[in-house]
Amino acid sequence: MNIDAGWGCEMAVDKDLVDSMLGPFRDMVKDIDSKGITNKDVDEMKAVMAKMNGYAASMDDMISFSTKLTTEGLFVAFSNAYSRVMSAAASSGTGGAEPEDASLLAQSLAAYEQSYNRLKDDPTMAHIVPPVKRAVEIAKSGVTYPVFLRQCEEEKIFERMKNGDQRPVLEFQLECAREMGDKLRSEMYSQELAAYDRLSAASPCGQADNLAFELARKRIEHEFEPMIAEWDSIIEQWEKLHWLVIDWLDAHCSFAPYDQRWVGMTPAITQYNIRRTKEKNPARLVVRERIFRDYHGLGWNDVWTHPTWIQEQAESRVWFADECIDLMKRVYPVCRPGSKPPSDCIAAEEAIHAAKKWRNPKNIARFGDEAGAGSGYRIRSFEEFVKARRKKR
């Protein structure tokens, strides 16, 4: 069977993407070929490979291509066949006989040493290094294979390798959520960390059992999922109300004809656009308030004391300056069809615009404006986080 079927020719879907997706599979085929292994499982691997290459050549949409490989189970079929090939190769390497203890120990040592050398300089893998290092030490200590296995079991080395220390990852996701001022996710990740610590404390190997933590984590995330959806929806709804009111106020200001929100191809179009906002926004506000109430049982006045508003303010994520928000609150009661904002509110808003102070300075400091970028969310890479964590400890 020819693995080059559809491989050497020009691919219709993006070649780089296909290469990154199929590259590891092609390497496995090359590896098997270089070992000179031939059997029906190798044929199956190559048949699957040819099919994947064939789709890459005949399809022109990357998403469709990727879906095709998934729905036809080609990744899984390839991996299953490859596992069978490797397993048969391992058995035939011993001539079918049970390998000797000494050779099993040598194989284990070689495998753990190789892993240790690969992992030891990668800060993101720091949490998995200690048990691998210890396995190497025991294997080199002159013990026999069964004693090596017993000691690894007694010192929970296999368990620690299997579980890994998930704490750095959990701490990192909590740090990111806190930096982003994401209240609910911060609470959720805190709970996950606490569950992990609780399970680790109860575990003989000092690290939470993978399965026990997986269950605890799913339970916590399940509990938070609807709360997060509601939180996000509430913010989205009140932001719409605020823009309707502030746009309505601004449409009555002297700067409106020069504002990008309304400027059209001709002065007449600009005036028409301004008139639209003046006349339409109060009616739109009625509908949007109804939707907000229907969804969340909340109204305009409830926003200012709602936890979502308090949190967004505390995290400098509210776009409007406090002065604009005060004006918004004053104008809201008259933002009704046929009405217009009080003249002192219009004058105050014009002054804010003249001074270019419509945005919350804390929001600008954090997220930047046309004058320059803000600090944004200071999220470091996981690698930097792990390095700092290690130094701290």
Binding site: T71, G73, S83, E153, P226, R276, K280, P337
Partner: protein, 219 residues
């Protein structure tokens, strides 16, 4: 008993200890005990070879069944029927495994099928994804306003319907049918807890949005 035999007994006893006192792994504890007892009962180590294969497989099966039983209990409690179904299938299939590699392959295949079924099930989320469109439609069709804005709203609503119908028929539908050739929007799924709990609105609103979605998209 020679030293090598004694060392192996030590190893299998240590494996038993791993599961002692852990309520998540009752089958694994029993299977490891059986494996250890077989080792202890051998007069010479070579006798163990004949017994080891089936007992090692029993340990692997027990571990899969313990893990999936724990998941099954959680998914039943959380009312996640697809996940629970696959946990159940894995428990049943594991019992029939003929070898460790057969067990691994069977679990991988079932895991892949589960992924597919969950992906297709997830398309029920299309409704909530379209809430912004439905809210805009509510605004443009229920707004109380005079001309010329009334006509402008009606035009905007018509354009929105055309655009979203096109989007649904030319994108959402063909994409979904790449996953399941028979896929069609099943609004009954929205009411199933795993989907319903992700929509932060009361039932009356969801019911209304379903009617609108069906009507405006021509589904």
């Amino acid at each position: 008993m020679d030293q090598r035999h004694a060392d192996y007994i030590g190893y299998y006893r240590a494996r038993v200890k791993k599961y002692e006192g852990n309520p998540l792994y009752p089958r694994s504890l029993a299977a490891e005990r059986a494996l250890c007892a077989a080792m202890e009962s051998c007069t010479v180590l070579e006798d163990f070879r004949a017994k080891a294969g089936p007992l090692s497989l029993a340990c692997a099966i027990a571990l899969v069944q313990d893990q999936e039983s724990a998941r099954l209990a959680l998914y039943e409690e959380l009312n996640e029927p697809i996940k629970a179904k696959y946990a159940r299938l894995m428990i049943e299939a594991a019992a029939k495994a003929l070898s460790v590699s057969d067990l691994t392959e069977t679990m991988t295949n079932l895991g892949a099928k589960q992924g597919l079924e969950e992906s297709v099930d997830g398309f029920a989320g299309n409704l909530y994804f379209d809430f912004t469109f439905l809210e805009n439609m509510e605004e443009n069709t229920t707004i109380e306003i005079g001309e010329p804005w009334k006509s402008e709203c009606e035009s905007a609503a018509k354009e929105d319907i055309d655009m979203h119908r096109r989007l649904f028929n030319e994108n959402t539908l063909p994409r979904a049918r790449e996953w399941d050739p028979d896929w069609k929007m099943n609004y009954d799924l929205v009411w199933e807890e795993r989907h319903r709990r992700k929509i932060p609105a009361p039932d009356a609103v969801v019911r209304r949005r379903i009617d609108e979605h069906r009507r405006w998209l021509g589904v």
